[in-house]
């Protein structure tokens, strides 16, 4: 853990706390930054893997209907270097996600910030961020 934190601090120092927007491949082909969504819901599955991690979220709509959303994060390796682990999100966790919706209209979105169960907010989760 110490080593991981050490690496994180070094990376943050190298690039500053402002994380430049850079991506492995283009975010723009799939997601629409003119369609932001705010999703508040319960984690039903968290898959910590490459090329992107996926958070599956049950979100209750204002009309009471529960909708399953698939939320993509940025590169898992980037998340790992920021301290994420495979159990960072557990089934049943209540989280809030700011994201951009997929252009194809499906309940799929690309996360820009994720607010964790302990109240911490992690930005740079989106594929707009690279490996910093």
């Amino acid at each position: 853990m110490k080593r991981i934190v050490g690496v994180l601090l070094q990376i943050l120092c190298l690039f500053g706390l402002v994380l430049p927007a850079s991506a492995h491949h283009s975010f723009a082909a799939e997601f629409d930054d003119k369609k932001p969504v705010k999703l508040e819901g319960t984690v039903v599955r968290f898959e910590f893997m490459n090329p992107h991690s996926w958070i599956y979220l049950d979100v209750k709509n204002p009309d009471g209907v529960v909708v399953r959303w698939a939320v993509e994060t940025g590169s898992t390796n980037a998340l790992f270097r920021r301290g994420w682990r495979k159990d960072s999100l557990r089934v049943g966790d209540h989280i809030t996600v700011d994201a951009f919706r997929a252009k194809d209209g499906s309940n799929t979105a690309n996360a820009s910030t994720v607010k964790l169960p302990d109240g911490r907010q992690i930005s740079g989760a989106s594929s707009r961020e690279g490996n910093q």
């Binding site: 991981i4 910590f48 682990r85 495979k86 960072s88």
Partner: protein, 244 residues
């Protein structure tokens, strides 16, 4: 300053010359058919008989827990469709080592790098004593840390994803898989590979395999690029490497 000195000392004189025992560099390949089934295969049309490479337990059988043996049998029945290699997965360990495709070992003073021709999977094996990752991340090829015991490179592999198979027959493991490999030069062109495999969720006890690997000695032999891709129709393909 220290590092190049150490490298110099290690490369000095005959320490790394061909034929010396700690030099694992080169292109190697398993020559048998253990990749089909670690427990061996009977003779079939177009397929030779092969003995089990499981050397412990002495009956040559993988010591599955009872429930796990059923899963292995089911994998075997479904292997034409559910083998993860069919979906371009990296092969995992020890399957990558036994696979009928060459791999290349590079080494210097603080690490050994192994590149497998199959889907260009690779491993970086630090030999400077740095520890494994914590449990919070899993890899198809596991996390490898090595050390020398005499002239044997001992590689400890943990942090596996559960999604790979051990062979084409569907022998499998969970994310609790732990493999301890031993690489020992036994001659100019031979490398003995031994592995201890344990996984408390799948096997009753640890078990061992052993094969001898042969060096590729053909002039100018090199690994080719073996890309596995999924086309627009979702079909997995292996594109050719040569125009003609």
């Amino acid at each position: 300053m220290i590092r190049p000195m150490l490298i110099g000392i290690l490369f000095a004189g005959s320490a790394w010359a061909q034929g010396q025992s700690r030099d694992l560099r080169g292109i190697w390949q398993a020559t048998g058919t253990a990749y089909r089934n670690l427990e061996g295969t009977p003779a079939q049309p177009g397929q030779p008989a092969a003995k089990s490479i499981v050397v412990a337990p002495s009956n040559g059988k993988i010591p599955y827990r009872a429930d796990a043996r059923k899963s292995a049998d089911r994998n075997s029945k479904e292997r034409e469709t559910s083998d993860p290699l069919l979906s371009c997965f990296q092969p995992g360990i020890p399957r990558a080592v036994l696979f009928p495709e060459p791999f290349q070992i590079f080494q210097n003073s603080d690490r050994v790098v192994i590149v497998y021709q199959h889907v260009h999977a690779y491993r970086v094996i630090f030999t400077d004593g740095r520890p494994h990752y914590d449990e919070g991340i899993e890899f198809y090829m596991g996390d490898s840390r090595g050390r020398w015991e005499g002239n044997t490179l001992v590689v400890d592999v943990t942090n596996f994803k559960p999604d790979t198979w051990l062979d084409s027959a569907g022998n499998f493991h969970s994310n609790k898989l732990h493999v301890i490999e031993r690489y020992t030069r036994t001659g100019v062109d031979t490398l003995r590979y031994e592995a201890t495999i344990e996984d408390p969720e799948v096997f009753e006890s640890a078990w061992n395999i052993r094969v001898d690997l042969a060096r590729h000695t053909e002039p100018n032999f090199q690994l080719l690029e073996h890309e596995c891709e999924r086309d627009a129709q979702g079909v997995y393909r292996h594109p050719p490497q040569f125009l003609k």
